[in-house]
Each structure stands twice: as structure tokens, then as C-alpha cells.
């Protein structure tokens, strides 16, 4: 699913139980990282749960490839949404994408506890910092 489909799908659901269920299902579709990739370097600081994230360019050294995982189902679902925002973009395109603003738009930030909301912020900041390193 691309990010527009995710957004439409989430907006069509009524109530938080249904929305979280959908987020969790998105997380389920995201492949798990092997333990060897769950390194301390890959860990995103500022999240209450464990989040690991790797970012690189594809074999042509053009487009972004981000893989990530979390030990909680909901945060893994949030990661799936964030990855849908950035994956396969050119770094200069990705720089203009603000996934945090999108979460705010979907009302997700307000509903998640601040530490979790900040988790989303920390993940997005991490991605942006790593993208800047490519340029």
C-alpha cells in the first residue's frame, strides 16, 4: 500500500479500536528484522519501546531503502506508515516529506501518549538526518 492508500483506509475507519487494528495489521505486513540487524547503532533513541532502523540507497545508488522493526505491534505499524512515506523516494524528494505532519493530520499524534508521539518524531528526525548525510 502506498501512503495515500493507507491514509484513505485509516480515515475511513470509525473509532480508535478499528484504527489501531489497521495500524497493527500494517505492522504485521512489515518484514521482521533478523536479530543480527537489531544493533545498538540501529536503535532509535527517544522511543519508549525498542525501534531499529537502517537506511541506505538502492543498488543504483539512487532511491531510498529503509528497513525497520519494533518490539511492539503498534509502533511497528507506525513504522510501516513512516516507511511508506519515504521508501523508494530520491533523497531530495524525501527531504521535502514531513511524516510527522502527516501523523498530526491523521490525528494520531494527539491520541498517542507524548512519549510515543515523540517516538514518531525521533524516527522521522533520524531518517532526515541520515538522508542529509547523502548530500
Amino acid at each position: 500500500m502506498d501512503i495515500n492508500q493507507i491514509q484513505t483506509q485509516l480515515n475511513s475507519l470509525n473509532g480508535w479500536q478499528a484504527k489501531y487494528r489497521e495500524i497493527m495489521l500494517l505492522g504485521k505486513k512489515l518484514p521482521s528484522l533478523p536479530d543480527a540487524l537489531k544493533t545498538q547503532d540501529a536503535q532509535v533513541q527517544g522511543c519508549e519501546s525498542n525501534v531499529w532502523l537502517h537506511l541506505d540507497l538502492d543498488e543504483n545508488q539512487e532511491r531510498l531503502v529503509i528497513i525497520a522493526d519494533s518490539d511492539t505491534r503498534i509502533v511497528k505499524g507506525l513504522l510501516a506508515i513512516i516507511l511508506a512515506c519515504y521508501n523508494n523516494l530520491l533523497p531530495q524528494e524525501a527531504k521535502l516529506v514531513d511524516a510527522y505532519a502527516l501523523f498530526e493530520e491523521m490525528g494520531l499524534i494527539q491520541h498517542l501518549s507524548p512519549s510515543r508521539g515523540n517516538g514518531v518524531k525521533a524516527i522521522v528526525e533520524r531518517i532526515q538526518t541520515q538522508i542529509s548525510a547523502f548530500q
Binding site: 473509532g15 480508535w16 479500536q17 489501531y20 505491534r73 503498534i74 498517542l112 510515543r116
Partner: protein
């Protein structure tokens, strides 16, 4: 009766996402009865003035009200009012005591705590140990998270600690400790005993004279009072022998540029303008508690707790941690390998407020080999209906997670 008492708590009537709030996070902070809210409000509307200074009517009235709460609390705890120091919370109280006792510590002296302690009863001692060369050691706790009382007594006798600091009841698991038995042993070795009563003040209403501890700390907001206020009891001679913790106005006897003399305890530990409205609000909380029979509340809490534990035990895959026999009404649980955050987040969508995480007890979680738990903490204002809603919500949550 409980239905009647619930009406005294305005926030219990609120809704979360259009569902009635089921508040199960009283170990973090209790809800406040209307009388506490009114007392704080009335103070600022009608009585606001600074205390211990000024000859004007308002200041005198504020001072009288403020000091009368110290007296009220002293009676509640069965100690003398000059043994009560106001602080901003149990954390500050523990820091004050740890700092104050550090002068009495020498290299290799033992400070004994339990693995069940809140970070606030670990870190100040760790810092003091680091500065003085004293050793911080631990009482024995089972794999389930229960203090081994007999082995603890033996360890106290063997270690002859300078200080024993332990919670009356665990915040993460709710276990009640047999404090009197531990103090009895500790006294044989002149050990200074510090009791973290943050979780016990409301549920157990301890009689400190009977308990025989040297220090006892608490937070007002965990016992129906306002946030930002707490305090400590200190056996007077010992309390007054400690050096001042913070300095400034109010706590002095006489200041000149050649030197300063301090007031006697408790004054010397209360620099600056105190949390006057907090103290007055807490006074209303104590009046509220005094007016209700403690046994009735304790009986309701115990029945509700067993009702909850039995319902949880019927759900396959739930593990309950800690002591379910002697407990203040806290259930810390995990469900299979599911993350506590996912469970708590789904419960919240049903209006059910629980705490998830390590509960400021990371060493305990390490001991239990857990990342964290979901914590349900009860207070007397919780009803059977609250528990039924919680159990239904939990079953739905589990169905969702198992999908």
C-alpha cells in the same frame, strides 16, 4: 457506600473517547475528591497570604491553617508534629534523608535496600555510597518478585547495615512488606530504618509509632492530595541531628555576613515559601479520609482486588507478578510475549487507564527478566463494574492481538 464515595471525585465521571473512564492508575496518582479541589480554590480566593511572616490577618490565618495540617498529619501517623517535614514529594524526602545521613557513613558501611525499590529509593543511596565509599546491598527476592522475609532477617543480622531503606509496599507489584518484623531485627544493630510509604499511606494508614521506623516518606498526591507536595517523618533527635539540605529564607534563625544559624527541625529543612495551597488541600484530603471508616475501605479494596485477580487468572496466557496474598491492590501482569505498550494502548480505547512500562523499577524488571508489565492499580473508589469493563476490554484486546 462506594457508589456514594465515587460521586465525590469529579474526574471519575468523565469519558474517554465517549466511554466512561475506568481509572486504574491510582498508584501513579490518585484522583482528587471535590473537597480537596475546593480547599485549594478557597485558599486562593479567600485566604491567600504567605506563612510565618507578617502581622496581618491573612498571613496569621494562612499560618494557622498551614500548621494545623502538620498537626493533622502527625495525628494521622501517630507521631509528633515537630517530626513532620514538608517537601515536594517522596523523591525529595528520600534525597533529603540520604544527604542528611551521608555524614554518618564511613567506608564499607552497608546500606541495605530491596530489589523492589522505586528508582527514588535507589539512586540517592547509590550516589551517597559513591561519595562515602559505603556499599549498597540488596535484600533477597524470589523469581516471582517477593521479598524473602526470613532470609532478609538473616541478612540484616549478618550485614549489620548502617541504613535499611525499603518500601512499605511495592509500587510496581503492590507487595506489602512486613516492615515491623524487619525493623525489629534492624534495631538490634542500631540500623537507621527508612520506609518509603509512597504507596502505603492511603491503603494501609500506618501507625508509625507502632511501626518503630526512624524515617517515613510519602507523596500527598498518592493519597488524594495535590501534586507537588510530600513530606517525611523523622524521629526527632535523629532528624534534628542532620545537616540542612537546602538553604535560604524561612529556615534560618539569624543571618549575618560572618555566619548563619539555622532553626531547629522541622523548620531548618523547609527553606523558602512552602507549598501552602498544597498543604491546605492535603489537609482536606486527610479530613476526608478521617471521616470514612478505614476498615470499610480496606475491606472493599481487598474484595475488589481478589475479584480482579480471580478474573485475570481465568484468562489463559496471563502471568501475574508479585505477591497476590499480601497486596495493596496492584496487579502487574504480562500476557504471553505481547508488549505491555500494545495492551495498554488497546485498553485505553475502551476508556481503561492503566500504566505500562517498567514503573521506575528497572532493576526489579531485570530481576524478573521482563521489559515491563501492565499495571492495574486500585483505589477504594474503583467499583466492580470498573473491573468488569476492564476484563471485557482485556479479552477483546487479546482477541485483537491474537488475530
Amino acid at each position: 457506600m462506594i457508589e456514594q464515595l465515587r460521586k465525590d471525585f469529579p474526574l471519575l465521571q468523565t469519558h474517554i473517547d465517549e466511554q466512561p473512564l475506568c481509572y486504574f492508575d491510582s498508584a501513579a496518582t490518585t484522583q482528587k475528591p471535590q473537597c480537596v479541589i475546593d480547599a485549594v480554590n478557597k485558599f486562593y480566593r479567600q485566604d491567600n497570604a504567605n506563612v510565618h511572616r507578617g502581622a496581618h490577618t491573612l498571613s496569621a490565618a494562612a499560618t494557622t491553617q498551614y500548621e494545623s495540617v502538620r498537626n493533622k498529619l502527625a495525628q494521622f501517623l501517630n507521631v509528633s508534629q515537630r517530626e513532620i517535614v514538608w517537601t515536594k514529594g517522596a523523591t525529595e524526602s528520600l534525597n533529603l534523608i540520604a544527604y542528611g545521613l551521608s555524614e554518618k557513613l564511613n567506608q564499607n558501611d552497608v546500606i541495605l535496600i530491596s530489589p523492589l525499590e522505586h528508582h527514588a529509593n535507589i539512586v540517592p543511596w547509590q550516589q551517597v555510597a559513591h561519595r562515602t565509599g559505603a556499599k549498597l546491598e540488596l535484600l533477597p527476592v524470589s523469581k516471582q518478585g517477593i521479598l524473602d522475609l526470613e532470609a532478609s532477617k538473616t541478612l540484616i543480622s549478618a550485614k549489620k547495615p548502617k541504613i535499611l531503606s525499603i518500601c512499605h509496599a511495592s509500587n510496581a507489584l503492590g507487595n506489602i512488606h512486613d516492615i515491623a518484623a524487619l525493623i525489629q531485627v534492624a534495631k538490634q544493630f542500631d540500623t537507621i530504618t527508612v520506609i518509603d510509604g509512597a504507596q502505603s499511606l492511603l491503603h494501609l494508614r500506618p501507625d508509625l509509632s507502632a511501626m518503630g521506623c526512624d524515617f517515613f516518606v510519602f507523596s500527598a498526591h498518592k493519597a488524594l492530595g495535590p501534586t507537588g507536595l510530600g513530606g517525611l517523618f523523622g524521629r526527632y533527635e535523629l532528624l534534628n541531628s542532620m545537616p540542612v539540605y537546602q538553604t535560604g529564607g524561612e529556615m534560618i534563625e539569624r543571618v549575618s555576613f560572618s555566619g548563619t544559624t539555622f532553626r531547629e527541625a522541622p523548620g531548618k529543612f523547609e527553606p523558602g515559601t512552602p507549598n501552602i495551597s498544597g498543604v491546605i488541600g492535603f489537609g482536606a484530603a486527610l479530613d476526608y479520609l478521617d471521616a470514612i471508616d478505614a476498615n470499610t475501605l480496606a475491606h472493599h479494596e481487598a474484595s475488589l482486588y481478589h475479584y480482579l485477580v480471580n478474573a485475570l487468572k481465568k484468562i489463559d496466557g496471563i502471568s501475574i507478578w508479585g505477591d497476590t496474598e499480601r497486596n495493596i491492590g496492584v496487579v502487574s501482569f504480562t500476557y504471553k510475549n505481547e508488549h505491555h505498550f500494545d495492551i495498554a494502548t488497546f485498553l485505553n480505547t475502551y476508556g481503561v487507564a492503566v500504566r505500562s512500562g517498567h514503573h521506575c523499577t528497572q532493576p526489579l524488571m531485570d530481576h524478573l527478566s521482563l521489559q515491563g508489565t501492565v499495571r492495574i492499580s486500585l483505589a477504594f473508589y474503583n467499583s466492580y463494574q470498573d473491573v468488569d469493563i476492564l476484563i471485557d476490554a482485556l479479552k477483546n484486546t487479546i482477541d485483537m492481538l491474537e488475530e
